[in-house]
């Protein structure tokens, strides 16, 4: 089931659709994703699951951002909405919103040629430092470090996300405008990761309680509540 849903997700091309509610692009896919989320929400939002989509469609979604499209939000935003909107999980299938078909109008298309995942390690007043993992090469660890100019590389929308530990994607690619002109582009997009939830905090408390047993000299410090 998970594999099928993953394949469906991977095969989903945002470029072929124009919709007020992209969740309803494919009813079967939507049902399947709901099922996966119910069973293993953390697994669904794991990078292993989302990465095939984010890697390929990140750049395209970015172009939608510029075009002010109704689907013009990063996949992370939408995934976050999936997770936080419990009403979606309980909505009867008959109420799944309708979507409008792609209208066939030419659109800007952006192709990512090189992509890194960055982790912010230091934020200064005008610049920030990051460790970079080459996603295009499939690296599993950071092998590059860089300092970026905030004014040059961070969009106004992303400024509030620029914090130590924040994750972003850095894409170098080409953009073909709907009029046919082509240009090189490079941009940074910060990921809208799911929020820490009450369950995460409960798990952390439980872990702390369990591990406090390793420190018997500190009995007074047992976790309560």
């Amino acid at each position: 089931m998970a594999l099928r849903a993953k394949n469906t997700l991977t095969n989903l091309s945002f470029g072929r659709h124009e919709s007020d509610d992209w969740i309803a692009l494919n009813r079967d896919w939507y049902s399947e994703v709901q099922s996966i989320i119910r069973k293993d929400p953390e697994g669904f939002f794991s990078s292993e699951f989302l990465e095939p989509i984010t890697r390929r469609d990140m750049a395209l979604l970015e172009s939608y951002d510029h075009a002010d499209s109704p689907v013009g939000r990063s996949f992370e935003n939408l995934a976050h909405r999936f997770r936080s909107d419990s009403e979606l999980f309980t909505r009867p299938s008959a109420e799944i919103p309708k979507f409008t078909a792609f209208d066939g109008k030419p659109r800007d298309v952006l192709t990512a040629h090189q992509e890194w995942e960055g982790v912010v390690t230091k934020v200064c007043s005008e610049s920030f430092e990051a460790m970079l993992r080459d996603k295009t090469a499939g690296d599993q660890e950071s092998k590059e470090v860089a300092e970026f100019d905030i004014g040059l590389m961070v969009s106004a929308d992303d400024l509030e996300l620029l914090k130590e530990g924040a994750i972003f994607n850095w894409v170098i690619g080409t953009e073909v405008k709907k009029e046919g002109t082509k240009r090189k582009v490079s941009f940074i997009k910060f990921r809208r990761l799911p929020a820490f939830t009450a369950a995460d905090f409960a798990q952390a408390r439980s872990f702390a309680n369990e591990m406090m047993e390793l420190f018997p000299t500190d009995e007074s410090d047992k976790v309560t509540g």
């Binding site: 599993q140 590059e144 470090v145 040059l152 490079s186 799911p194 995460d200 872990f207 000299t217 500190d218």
Partner: protein, 373 residues
Amino acid sequence: MNLTKSPASREFELSLFGPGFGECALLHVGNGNWIGVDSCIDSKSKRQVILSYFDALGIDPATALKAIVVSHWHDDHIRGMAQLVKSAPNAHIWCSSAFSKKEVLQVIDIYATNKTIVEKPGTSELRDTLVCLKQRKAPSLRFPKLTGENVPVFVDEGIRVTGLSPSSHQQLLSTAELGNLMPKENEAKKRAPTQHENHLSVVLHIEVEGLVALLGGDLEHRGARETLGWTAILNNDMKPKSIATLYKVPHHGSENAHVDRIWDEMLTDGPVALVAPYNRGVKPLPSKEDRNRILTRTDKAWSTADPLLPKKKRKLSKWIEDERRECVNRYRWVRTDTGQIRIRANLDDPTGEPSVELFDGALHLSELRDEKA
């Protein structure tokens, strides 16, 4: 030089490894007793470097390692720690008392279990290490021991390994600092922030039959505050009095860990100095100024690697390379191979000069390349 030759029973060894993914030290204090300090992974072999070295020497870590010191959770000091602890079931584990506090344990867990990030943070390794300890059967080996000022980490006939830090005041402050890293509910997930100032690090004074070494860890200087950082150690009248001839320079040789009084009061003139560079920042350490400062104190100074040694880069299209260059103020590839400095000394000849052996890219400190302007 023969990397695979084990030290003799009456031979002291101090090996410093770095900067693969981090740094760590290994001590042979005689009679087949070894002590590990921190942990790192060799990026090429993906193996924990102490275990890899033991393989080369034909030593079983399960019986040889008597103590492992976990100084702090910075990525460059803890990678592979769980693997090391698992392979050394008879080693006592030493860590800061900050890790015994509920708020810090919660911080460790909440960042460790974040599945949205591919590259795991140091908290993840620390969590795995604690879980590994919990599974040990013998209570005496299951419970971590807490380091601090003047705490004996390993004692045997003629051997005394003493923890000199963190100070009690420091542990209180650090517990609060670490607790403050706890995210707020509904805050977006992120990688565990780094504790930039490194105050929890464990400094060790090692005395083996008259041979003395000072391992400075990553401890930084906190100015004249009597109860913090290096000043707390320097002002500690109860610390071991013997003067060290071997010195692991703290915090990659950086200026913020340099104190003249360490060189004047705790080390002999011209000691053997060992540096593990830091290569995961935009500005690698030690800087040219750091190197010069150390070299004015001793010409017997060695580095585990040259962080600016040119690395064979992945080939990008020229236009992508040009675009990349346009976007960054500074940029560099990180060398990830692990070098080793090995010091050995005959315990039956305490006046003899210890031998210095360099492996896998380790070099004299004066040979490090300068950063391009």
